[in-house]
Amino acid sequence: MRTFKVTRMRTCWLGNIWILHVTKFVFILANFTQSFPFNRSQMMNSKQDPGGIFGGYGMGDPNVGLAGSPNSGALLSPLHPYLNVDPSLVGPGGAEYIFPEGASKTRGRFEMAFSQIGGSVFAGGAVGGANGIITGIKETAAAQLTGPVRRTQMLNYIAKQGASSAQALGVVALMYSVFGVIISKARGADDELNTLTAATMTGLLYKSSAGWKKCGRAGAVGFGLAAVYCLYTSKDRIKGVLSSKGYDSL
């Protein structure tokens, strides 16, 4: 039963990828044939059409792109005429993926949570371990330890610092994930507001027993980090908004 499930999953996955590749290949082919030098004059003719990167398709000439039309030639459309469509007219631009019905386009917070927590634990362990190596070398040199004693002491430093920073980072990631999942489930939407709220609440909770001042500071740090992250992830959108504003003022 188990093997059956695994194979089924793989075929599904492969099937999706296969469809993707075929689609991509078709679009690449169409694009390639359109930008072939023989068609240069035609592309120039249709310059005023909003064709995008897939090249302009002359709107005035219904025969453009159809095989056998007098001014296109055989090279222009080796494909089926129905496939010779500007994809930017059909749907929104960008990468085209096929998703299962009812599935969201990115993984939700809960699906990502364990990987994020594990990544944080690993990162904390790596940073703490590196820190432990530095501290260990300094301390053992100062204490003039040599041989097996020094080695054991070094291992202690690395293990202890690595474990403590891994725990700290892991707890922060766990709090963030729990808050993020709860908020996104409660709101029914997953956007930047969730990220900001979850990060602020994480900071507040993490230092909640250290006094008001530290608590507030940790919350502010969380909010700042989340804001930087949000700005970075949505920079394309911000650019788009800014440039469209520029157009409006003109």
């Binding site: 949570a113 994020q116 927590i117 594990g118 725990q167």
Partner: protein, 172 residues
């Protein structure tokens, strides 16, 4: 759908490590809050403080220990998948035993053997229960022999007028 959402192998280590850390940290919070409450000096406020302190100091440690267990287990599991080129319950059982052995490597050979045994038996139980569940849930998807299916009742022979029990068992 949730069942197919597992990460492919090298990333599964990170995923399992995170899952184990969350499990340990949340479970450790519950456990240590109760233990800290019971261990604290008398008085509700002091008990709450004791509970909070215990959670703050001990829950991340529990989570970290779980994370080490999960990460090591998953790493060995993935290595076995890579070496043996197949995924089956024996991978899990072996890696459970190996994880137990490795984590008690500083306590001597006897302790290693004991931990390996415990880890192996535990993982064998988990895998066995999983297989059992799969088998039970697969039972309802078993293909039915069409000749054994109940026929259209309109085409059945009429009931005997004075018959008692019908002896035919083809309707079951």
């Amino acid at each position: 759908m949730e069942e197919y959402a597992r990460e492919p192998c090298p990333w599964r280590i990170v995923d399992d490590c995170g899952g184990a850390f969350s499990m340990g940290a949340i479970g450790g919070s519950v456990f240590h809050s109760i233990k800290g409450y019971r261990n604290a000096p008398a008085g509700h406020y002091r008990r709450l403080i004791g509970s909070l302190t215990a959670v703050k100091t001990r829950a991340p440690i529990t989570g970290g220990n779980f994370a080490v267990w999960g990460g090591l287990f998953s790493a060995i599991d993935c290595s076995l998948v890579y070496v043996r080129k197949k995924e089956d319950p024996w991978n899990s059982i072996t890696s459970g035993a190996a994880t137990g052995a490795i984590l008690s490597v500083r306590n001597g050979v006897a302790a290693m053997a004991g931990s390996a045994l415990i880890g192996g038996v535990l993982l064998a139980l988990i895998e066995g229960i999983g297989i059992m569940f799969t088998r039970f849930s697969a039972e309802q998807f078993k293909p039915v022999d069409p000749t054994q299916m109940p026929q259209d009742p309109q085409q059945l022979p009429p009931k005997p007028l004075f018959g008692g029990e019908q002896t035919s068992n083809s309707y079951q």
